[in-house]
Symmetry: C2
């Protein structure tokens, strides 16, 4: 066993990459329903049953694509975060948030895959791989949130203003994830995420066009409000480049 990767293994990895690459391209071109085994195989110069050597079913391939998308958006957020000094926590949170929106707007179909309505015939795998990827995504925001709180606690809402049932659920969630924050801070975290999700999802799904031509300005305004809640407005600054010029491959 000199090399773990034989000639055949390397060829296999390359084929898997080609499948996912073509699948991603067709996904963005045709939309969520455009992931078709036969179309992928055709473009690869293969026949459809051959793909079953690499994925047990279409759902398995979709799961792989979703995991890749998680990886992409998380990487984009982490890179944006790490491009700033480690002690500029507020700026880091802003950068990660903007990276989240930029990726989402640039990849609307993939965003729907991760954060939208469940796919028509798709059945989530029971292994928990998707949950793990989701937790990693949430972790980027949560870690920054916790660090900002640890550095300089911000004012928290009164617990009496939170529905008692929600307090219970939040306490369970908090206990599940280590629980170093007061429950009202956990509430604030969830509430902030809901607001950011709402702004981005509405824009990406095109559900805000009845009022606005574009979503970037709304997002920035929302981000500024969230910054106020967390006491990091002094680290708020307009994004380095106009939102439409960002993004990439």
């Amino acid at each position: 066993m000199v090399a773990e990767t034989s000639r055949r293994d390397r060829h296999r990895e390359q084929t898997v990459g080609e499948i996912k690459q073509i699948a991603r391209r067709q996904l963005t071109e045709v939309g969520t329903g455009g992931i078709a085994l036969r179309a992928i195989a055709r473009e690869m110069g293969m026949t459809a049953p051959g793909l079953y050597r690499y994925y047990a079913s279409l759902d398995d391939l979709i799961t792989a694509l979703i995991l890749d998308c998680y990886e992409e958006v998380v990487t984009a957020m982490e890179q944006a975060r790490d491009a700033l000094p480690a002690d500029s926590l507020g700026a880091r949170l802003h950068a990660a948030s903007r990276a989240f929106r930029t990726w989402s707007v640039g990849h609307p179909v993939e965003f729907g895959l991760i954060f939208g309505a469940p796919l028509p015939g798709y059945a989530r795998p029971p292994e928990g791989a998707l949950e793990q990827a989701g937790a990693r995504f949430a972790g980027v925001f949560r870690d920054l949130f916790v660090q900002i709180w640890a550095r300089r606690p911000f004012p928290l809402p009164d617990e009496s203003s939170i529905d008692p049932r929600l307090v219970e659920q939040l306490e369970r969630y908090s206990a599940r994830t280590g629980g170093r924050l007061p429950v009202t801070a956990v509430y604030l975290f969830v509430a902030c995420w809901v607001r950011m999700y709402g702004a981005v999802a509405m824009e990406v799904f095109g559900r805000i066009r009845w009022a606005l031509e574009e979503g970037g300005a709304l997002f920035e305004t929302e981000l500024r409000q969230l910054a106020e809640l967390l006491g990091i407005t002094e680290e708020y600054a307009l994004p380095p480049a106009p939102s439409s010029a960002a993004g990439g491959a």
Copy 2:
């Protein structure tokens, strides 16, 4: 021309109703991708091409379903609103909001149809019928918002806290719809809707389950916060029935 509806016309209307009814049932059972002309025809004891006498294409039928869903949710909201005294504006807004969430949670697939990611192969009709239905939906919230403002103006955010580009867009939107509110109030309206949309969409799409078991308590807490913004907290009251027992056919 004694009767506008001949025997054949009545039969046709009945058939259209049966088509939509079966389509709705299959939609809720199988999901968004479950709208299949052949399956509908089979259940009706017909063949698929026969359905083309009633809808020019599958997309046309989907459009009809979406319009029906708009009608349903708007009716639910209006009924909840009108069940309360006309001068209890805050209570009316709360009732309409809760009706919106109740319908959405009870009809997750239909919610995705209206407010989620665009359907895979579906092409929106260019006539503007969907836009009109959407405008009617937004009108329920907007009218209540305007009335509440007219009765007792609530504190508005400073215009300097809003992105100038957003102010421009909001002013255009405001002018388009009559424009009797200051632009900062229009912003508040949009921001409130984004927050409510976020909370409901996350719950309906199951994207909050990593933290919470259920979404009703979060929604109530969010609703209470929005009530504070609009100065109608004294009209806030817990919903008449537990949120899980509501809903219906």
